[in-house]
C-alpha cells in the first residue's frame, strides 16, 4: 500500500499520553490538515511522522515501507517549522540549497535548482540576500522552498502561517494549496485555525485529547460532524438536547418534533448550524422561544433566542431578515435534513 499509514500510534511523556492509539491513512498526493486546540497532540503526531519523536507504540509507514525506526535525516521529507528555523548564517540561496549540499549534489546543479525554486515562490533573484533582511511572507516562502528542494515524498508543515498577519495568511493559504496541487505532493499541515484547514485540505483530521475525533472532507466535517466536540470546534453551532419516546418520536424542550426518527437513542444532542435554524410562527411542531437580542452585522443578521433555558442562535442574510422584535415569542424549526444527531 502506498501513501502514509499510521497504525495505532501512541506517544507517552511520563504519565501523560499526548497521542492515544491514532490510526490514519493518507493516500498519495492528498492534502491533510491536523486540526485541534492547543495541546491536542497534533504537533506531537507530526513530529512522530517526521521522526523527531519516536512513538511509544505503533508504527509509521510511508510508501509501503515501515519507517518507524528510520532516523529523520534518512526519511527524505520536507518540513516547515512554526519558527521557520531559517539558518541565520546562510543566504537565501544557501538555505534553499542546504539539503542538496548535504547530499553532495554538485554546485551547478544546486544553483539551477535554487533558481527554479526561487521562481516557484515568486522571489527570483533573491539568492544572495541575507535571510535577516526578508519580510515575514518572504521568509515563509523561503522556508517552503528549502523544504521542497529535494522534491520530497512527504511535505510537513507545523503551524506554518501563524506568524503572518491575517490578510497575508489568507493569501498564503491559497498559494500553498495551489502549489500542492501543482506538485501533487502528499502534504500534512498542523493548524489550530479551522478556516485554514477548510481552505486547504482534502481531508481534515480533527483531534482532541490526543485522539482523532473525525477525519473527513471539509464539507462533511461541517455538515456531518461526528460528535459535539467536532460540531462545536468547526464553525459555530447550536447543541440542543433531546429526548425520544418508545416509538422513536423525538421531543425538544417538551415540544414534540415531527420528522425526527431516532432509532435506538433515548436521549442525546442534535447539532443545528445557525444558518439552518428557521424562525417561524409558533405552532404545534415548533419549539417555543423568546427573542433576546438581535445583532445586525451588515452581511448577516444574528438572532439570539432563549428556549428551554439555553440560547439558540439563528443566522440569516439581510434579505431573509426575520421579521421579529426583542421580547417576541417565536417558533423554531429544525430541519431533519440539516440537523445532525450526535452520538455523544
Amino acid at each position: 500500500m502506498s501513501g502514509l499509514i499510521l497504525s495505532n500510534v501512541t506517544k507517552q511523556f511520563g504519565t501523560f499520553k499526548a497521542v492515544k492509539d491514532v490510526s490514519l491513512s493518507v493516500p498519495d498526493g492528498t492534502f491533510v490538515c491536523l486540526l485541534g486546540p492547543s495541546g491536542c497532540g497534533k504537533t506531537t503526531l507530526m513530529r512522530m511522522i517526521a521522526g523527531l519523536d519516536l512513538p511509544t507504540t505503533g508504527s509509521v509507514a510511508l510508501g509501503g515501507e515501515d519507517i518507524t525506526q528510520i532516523p529523520t535525516h534518512k526519511r527524505n521529507l520536507g518540513m516547515v517549522f512554526q519558527s521557520l528555523a531559517l539558518f541565520p548564517h546562510l543566504t537565501v540561496g544557501e538555505n534553499i540549497a542546504y539539503a542538496l549540499r548535504i547530499r553532495g549534489i554538485d554546485k551547478a546543479e544546486q544553483k539551477k535548482r535554487v533558481d527554479e525554486l526561487l521562481a516557484m515562490i515568486h522571489l527570483p533573484g533573491f539568492a544572495d540576500r541575507s535571510v535577516g533582511k526578508l519580510s515575514g511572507g518572504q521568509r515563509q516562502r523561503v522556508a517552503i522552498a528549502r523544504a521542497l528542494a529535494i522534491s520530497p515524498k512527504l511535505f510537513l508543515l507545523d503551524e506554518p502561517l501563524s506568524a503572518l498577519d491575517a490578510k497575508l495568511r489568507e493569501a498564503m493559504q491559497v498559494e500553498l494549496r495551489q502549489l500542492q496541487q501543482r506538485l501533487g505532493i502528499t502534504t500534512i499541515v498542523v493548524t489550530h485555525d479551522q478556516r485554514e484547514a477548510m481552505t486547504m485540505a482534502d481531508t481534515v483530521v480533527v483531534m482532541n485529547g490526543g485522539e482523532i475525533r473525525q477525519a473527513a472532507a471539509p464539507v462533511d466535517i461541517y455538515r456531518r460532524p461526528a460528535d459535539s466536540f467536532v460540531a462545536d470546534f468547526i464553525g459555530s453551532t447550536n447543541l440542543i438536547p433531546f429526548q425520544a419516546d418508545d416509538r422513536g418520536q423525538a421531543s425538544i424542550f417538551g415540544s414534540t418534533i415531527e420528522g425526527f426518527s431516532l432509532v435506538g437513542a433515548k436521549a442525546g444532542t442534535i447539532s443545528v448550524r445557525p444558518e439552518d435554524v428557521q424562525i417561524v410562527t409558533e405552532d404545534a411542531s415548533s419549539v417555543t422561544g423568546t427573542v433576546a437580542f438581535i445583532r445586525d452585522l451588515g452581511g448577516t443578521v444574528e438572532t439570539f433566542i432563549e428556549a428551554g433555558g439555553q440560547q439558540i442562535i439563528a443566522v440569516a442574510s439581510p434579505r431573509a431578515r426575520p421579521d421579529v422584535t426583542i421580547g417576541q415569542t417565536v417558533g423554531l424549526r429544525f430541519d431533519p435534513e440539516t440537523s445532525v444527531v450526535l452520538a455523544r
Binding site: 517526521a50 523527531l52 529523520t72 535525516h73 520536507g78 528555523a85 539558518f87 548564517h89 548535504i102 510537513l156
Partner: protein
C-alpha cells in the same frame, strides 16, 4: 524604547564614577608601568627616571623570542582545547533538563572558587607517581605507575581545567538562546545530528566562539603559576619571566617592558582575529 545619545555635559554624569574608577585603578597604574619600562635600573633593586630603550632592547634575543612564541602557542592551545571541549559540552548541557543544567553549572562555578595555587597542587598530586591516577591504571594492570608531571601535557591539562568554566559560562547564554528547531530543521533536510552540529550550530555561533577563543587566550596568557608548578623551565611563559624579574630579580623596568610588550602583542593578535572575523562576515 528609543535611546538618545547624551546631549549636554551633565548627561554624562552617571558615567563619572566608573570613569574615575577606571582612571585610578587602570589607566594610572598602566601608565606608570609604561613609564617605568623606559626607566633605568639601579643596582640594588631600585630604578631612576630616564628614557632609555635598553629594557626593550634586552629581549630582542632568541631566548625571549622563544619564550614569547611558546607563551602565545600555549595560550592558543588552551583556548582551542577549551572551545573544542566547551562547545559540544555546553550544547548538550543546553539541551538537557533544567535540573541537570543547574547541577552542572553549580559544579563549574565551584571550580571558579578554587585558587590557581590549589588547582596547581591538586593536579601535581593527581599526576604524580606516588599518589597519581596512574596508580589506578597500574592496579588494573594496564601500565606501571609513573609521573606525568612536570610536562607540557600537565600544564595544558591544568590550564584547560581552570579556563573551562569561563568558556562554558560565556557560551551557555548564546547556546540556550539558539532556536532548538534549527538542528531539527537540519535533520529533516538530511543532516545527521553530528553533521547538523557542524553545519548549523557551529557556524551560527561563529561570533560567540571567536569571542570565547579571545577571552580564554587572554586569560591563559596571564597564567604564571601553573607553568611553574607543573612544567619544566622550557614550559615557562613570558608571565613567569615577568614575575621572576619583578619579584625575584627586582628588575622593575625590565619586567614592565616585558609586560607592555606582552599587552601589545596580545592586543594586536586580538585585533587581527576580530578583523578576520569581520572580513569573513562581509564576504
Amino acid at each position: 524604547m528609543r535611546r538618545e545619545p547624551p546631549q549636554r555635559f551633565p548627561d554624562y554624569g552617571p558615567l563619572m564614577f566608573p570613569a574615575a574608577m577606571l582612571v585610578v585603578f587602570f589607566v594610572i597604574p598602566f601608565a606608570t608601568m609604561i613609564a617605568v619600562s623606559f626607566f633605568e635600573r639601579q643596582q640594588g633593586g631600585f630604578y631612576e627616571p630616564a628614557f632609555v630603550f635598553d629594557n626593550y632592547g634586552r629581549f630582542l634575543s632568541l631566548f625571549f623570542g622563544k619564550v614569547l612564541a611558546f607563551s602565545l602557542f600555549l595560550a592558543m592551545a588552551v583556548a582551542a582545547a577549551c572551545v573544542t571541549i566547551g562547545v559540544p559540552f555546553t550544547y548538550l548541557l543546553s539541551r538537557s533538563s533544567r535540573g541537570t543544567q543547574i547541577r552542572w553549572l553549580v559544579v563549574l562555578l565551584s571550580i571558579l572558587s578554587l585558587s590557581e595555587v590549589m588547582i596547581g597542587f591538586a593536579w601535581s598530586t593527581l599526576l604524580s607517581r606516588t599518589a597519581g591516577i596512574t596508580n589506578l591504571f597500574a592496579m588494573l594492570g594496564l601500565m606501571d605507575a609513573q609521573a606525568l608531571t612536570p610536562s607540557f601535557g600537565a600544564v595544558m591539562t591544568a590550564m584547560t581545567y581552570q579556563a573551562l568554566p569561563y568558556t562554558v559560562l560565556v557560551l551557555y547564554p548564546a547556546l540556550v538562546r539558539l532556536d532548538p528547531t534549527l538542528t531539527e530543521a537540519a535533520r529533516t533536510l538530511g543532516a545527521s545530528p553530528v553533521r547538523a552540529f557542524f553545519t548549523v550550530i557551529v557556524p551560527a555561533l561563529r561570533n560567540t566562539i571567536l569571542a570565547t577563543l579571545i577571552m580564554v587566550f587572554i586569560f591563559a596568557l596571564g597564567s604564571y603559576l601553573l607553568p611553574q608548578l607543573l612544567g619544566r623551565p622550557q614550559h615557562w611563559t613570558l608571565s613567569v619571566l615577568i614575575t621572576d624579574q619583578a619579584i625575584y630579580q627586582s628588575n622593575m623596568p625590565f619586567a614592565a617592558a616585558m609586560a607592555v610588550f606582552l599587552v601589545l602583542v596580545s592586543l594586536s593578535l586580538v585585533g587581527l582575529a576580530v578583523y578576520a572575523g569581520r572580513q569573513k562576515e562581509a564576504a
